[in-house]
C-alpha cells in the first residue's frame, strides 16, 4: 500500500464516523432516541453513497486526465453524465418516478445509450481526438434534449422536480440506491485500474504507447466501460455532481509519482473523502432548505478551475 493510500484511508476512518453523527441534528448515540435506527437507515446509507459517488467520480477523473493527457479533463467530457441525466429526466417527465428504482434505472439506460453512441462513433479506431469530440457532441445533444424536456414540462411541479434532480444531492437516499450504485461503481473502478499501465505508456504519446504493445481500441473500451459504469451509476443515484473528477486528481497528484496508474486509487479515496465531507457540510449549513450537494461542489469547483487555468497560464502545471 502506497503512502497516499494509507493517508487517505486514515482520513476516511476519521471522517466517516463524524459524518454519521453530523447533521441538522447531531446524534449522540447514548442520548438521542432511536439513534441506532437513524444511523442504520438514514445516515449510514447516505454516507456510504457519498463514498461511492466521490470514489467513482474521483477514479473516473484521474483516468480521464491520464487518457486525454490533460490535467483539465473531466469525466463530464464523455457525455455520460448528461446521458444519464437525460434518462432520469425522461423518467421524471413521464411521471415514472413512483418506484425508487425507476429513475436510477432510466438514468442507467441513458448512460448506456451515451456509451453506445460513443462506441459506435469512435470505438473502432480508438482515436483520442475523435473520442473527445464525439463525447462533447453526445454531451451537448443530451443537454439540449434535457433543456427541451424542461421547457416542455407538463406542469410547474414536474419542472421543479426535474431541475431539483439535475442539481445532484444525497438527500432522501437509502440502501436501495447503495445497492444500485455499489456493484457498478466498484466494477467501473476495477476497469479503470486495469487501464492503468496503458495510461502510463500514453504519457509518452500515442505512437510510443502503441509501440509498447498498447492496443488503443482495448484501452478505449476499458475507459468507456470504466467511466460509463462509475459516472453512469453515480449520476443515476445522485444526479449531476460536477467538478469532483476535475479537482480531486489535482489535489492527489503531488502525493504520487504522477504516473496515471498511481493516481486512480488515491483519487477514488480522495473523491470519497471530498464528497463525504461536502455532504456533511451541506447538512450542517444553517439554511432554510438544505443546499444541494451538486451546487455546493460547483461553487467550490468553478473557482478552483479558474485557479488552475491561471496556474497553467503561468506554466506551473
Amino acid at each position: 500500500m502506497t503512502r497516499p493510500i494509507r493517508l487517505l484511508l486514515a482520513a476516511l476512518a476519521f471522517a466517516l464516523p463524524l459524518s454519521l453523527l453530523a447533521g441538522r441534528v447531531w446524534i449522540d448515540p447514548s442520548t438521542t432516541p432511536n439513534a441506532a435506527l437513524i444511523l442504520a437507515e438514514l445516515r449510514l446509507p447516505r454516507s456510504v453513497l457519498a463514498l461511492l459517488v466521490g470514489g467513482g467520480l474521483g477514479a473516473a477523473g484521474a483516468a480521464m486526465q491520464g487518457y486525454l493527457r490533460n490535467p483539465l479533463a473531466d469525466p463530464g467530457l464523455f457525455g455520460i453524465a448528461p446521458g444519464a441525466a437525460l434518462g432520469a429526466v425522461a423518467a421524471l417527465w413521464f411521471g415514472y418516478s413512483a418506484s425508487q428504482w425507476t429513475v436510477p434505472f432510466f438514468a442507467l439506460i441513458g448512460a448506456g445509450g451515451a456509451m453506445a453512441l460513443l462506441a459506435a462513433i469512435a470505438g473502432r479506431t480508438g482515436g483520442i481526438a475523435l473520442f473527445t469530440l464525439a463525447g462533447l457532441m453526445v454531451a451537448s445533444l443530451a443537454g439540449a434534449l434535457t433543456a427541451l424536456a424542461i421547457s416542455l414540462a407538463p406542469n410547474a411541479f414536474a419542472m421543479e422536480t426535474v431541475v431539483m434532480w439535475l442539481n445532484g444531492a444525497l438527500t432522501d437516499r437509502g440502501w436501495s440506491e447503495v445497492w444500485i450504485a455499489a456493484p457498478l461503481v466498484l466494477a467501473g473502478v476495477a476497469l479503470l485500474r486495469a487501464a492503468g499501465p496503458a495510461l502510463d505508456a500514453l504519457t509518452l504519446g500515442e505512437a510510443v504507447a502503441r509501440s509498447l504493445g498498447v492496443q488503443p481500441s482495448r484501452l478505449l473500451w476499458l475507459l468507456l466501460g470504466g467511466v460509463g459504469l462509475t459516472v453512469g451509476a453515480v449520476t443515476a443515484v445522485a444526479g449531476i455532481i460536477g467538478f469532483v473528477g476535475l479537482i480531486v486528481p489535482h489535489l492527489v497528484r503531488p502525493l504520487t509519482d504522477r504516473r496515471p496508474s498511481q493516481l486512480i486509487l488515491p483519487s477514488a479515496l480522495a473523491g470519497a473523502l471530498l464528497v463525504l465531507v461536502a455532504d456533511s457540510v451541506v447538512r450542517l449549513l444553517p439554511l432554510m432548505t438544505e443546499l444541494r450537494l451538486g451546487i455546493a461542489l460547483s461553487l467550490l469547483g468553478a473557482p478552483f478551475f479558474l485557479w488552475l487555468l491561471v496556474k497553467m497560464r503561468r506554466g506551473a502545471l
Partner: protein, 248 residues
C-alpha cells in the same frame, strides 16, 4: 534476422517501398522533407498498417504479430518526444519494460548508465533540458532490450559529445546483433556512422546501399536539388553543399 518491407504503399506518403534490413548493422534513412522517412520508420515499427504490401520481421508479418511481442522485438523512438506528466526519469525509462510485463531493474539501470543518466534517475521530466529529455526517451527504448532499435532523428537535439556517445553505444548494440535504423537529416553523420543508407524521395527509394554510393554527390544533387561535395576520407567525411560546392 531481417526486418523487411515488401512493396509498401501508404497513401500520400509511401509509393511502393521494398527493402530488407539486416540485424547487426546501422541503417540510416535520409531524404528531404516530406520524402516519407518518418512514415517508413513508423511502418517498419508496425505502427502504420500499409495500404498494400507488408512489413515482415524475419518471415512473420508485423500485422499478424501480437502487439506485445512486436513491442518486445522493436523499440521505437518518435521524432517529437512528448512527456505528458512530470514523472521521475526512472519510471519513464522503466516503461520500456512494459511489453515484457516485468519490472526488472537491471535493464533499466543499464539503459540509464548507457545514456549517462544514472544521476538523473530521480529527477522529474519537466526539470530536464531538451537534450536530456531525448536521452531519457532513448533510454526507455534501450530498457526494453529490443532486437531492433528504430529512432527518428535521435541525434538532432544532442550536443556533440552526447551525439558521439550515443553513436558509439548504437555501434556496440549493432555489433552485438541489434538492428539499428535511424532517420537522419545530417548527411555527414549518416555517411560516417551508418553501414548502409536508404535515400527516400517522394515516397520511393531513390538510392540504397553503402554510404559512399547511396550518398554520392550526384544523388544529393538529384534528390535534394543542391550541389554538394564530400571532403575528407571515408569514415571521416564532411559535406560542403550549396553554391560554394559547385564553384570550386
Amino acid at each position: 534476422m531481417t526486418l523487411s518491407a515488401h512493396d509498401v504503399m501508404v497513401p500520400n506518403r509511401l509509393a511502393g517501398v521494398s527493402l530488407t534490413l539486416e540485424a547487426g548493422t546501422i541503417t540510416a534513412i535520409c531524404g528531404p522533407n516530406g520524402a516519407g522517412k518518418s512514415t517508413l520508420l513508423e511502418t517498419l515499427a508496425g505502427l502504420i498498417s500499409p495500404h498494400t504490401g507488408q512489413v515482415c520481421l524475419d518471415a512473420q508479418s508485423l500485422t499478424a504479430m501480437a502487439p506485445r511481442a512486436r513491442g518486445r522485438a522493436i523499440g521505437y523512438l518518435p521524432q517529437a518526444g512528448e512527456i505528458a506528466w512530470d514523472v521521475p526519469v526512472r519510471e519513464l525509462v522503466a516503461l520500456g519494460r512494459m511489453p515484457h510485463g516485468d519490472a526488472r531493474p537491471e535493464p533499466v539501470d543499464a539503459a540509464l548508465a548507457a545514456l549517462d543518466l544514472t544521476d538523473f534517475a530521480s529527477r522529474r521530466a519537466q526539470a530536464l533540458s531538451g537534450g536530456e529529455t531525448v536521452r531519457v526517451l532513448l533510454a526507455r527504448v534501450l530498457a526494453g532490450e529490443p532486437q531492433w532499435i528504430l529512432a527518428d532523428e535521435p541525434l538532432a537535439a544532442l550536443d556533440l559529445a552526447h551525439q558521439l556517445a550515443l553513436l558509439a553505444y548504437l555501434r556496440r548494440a549493432a555489433d552485438s546483433g541489434t538492428g539499428v535504423v535511424l532517420v537522419l537529416h545530417d548527411l555527414a553523420l549518416a555517411m560516417n556512422h551508418a553501414d548502409r543508407v536508404v535515400v527516400l524521395h517522394g515516397g520511393r527509394v531513390a538510392a540504397d546501399g553503402a554510404c559512399e554510393d547511396a550518398l554520392d554527390h550526384r544523388v544529393i544533387e538529384r534528390v535534394w536539388g543542391v550541389p554538394a561535395r564530400w571532403l575528407g576520407e571515408p569514415g571521416a567525411r564532411a559535406l560542403v553543399a550549396g553554391p560554394t560546392a559547385s564553384s570550386r
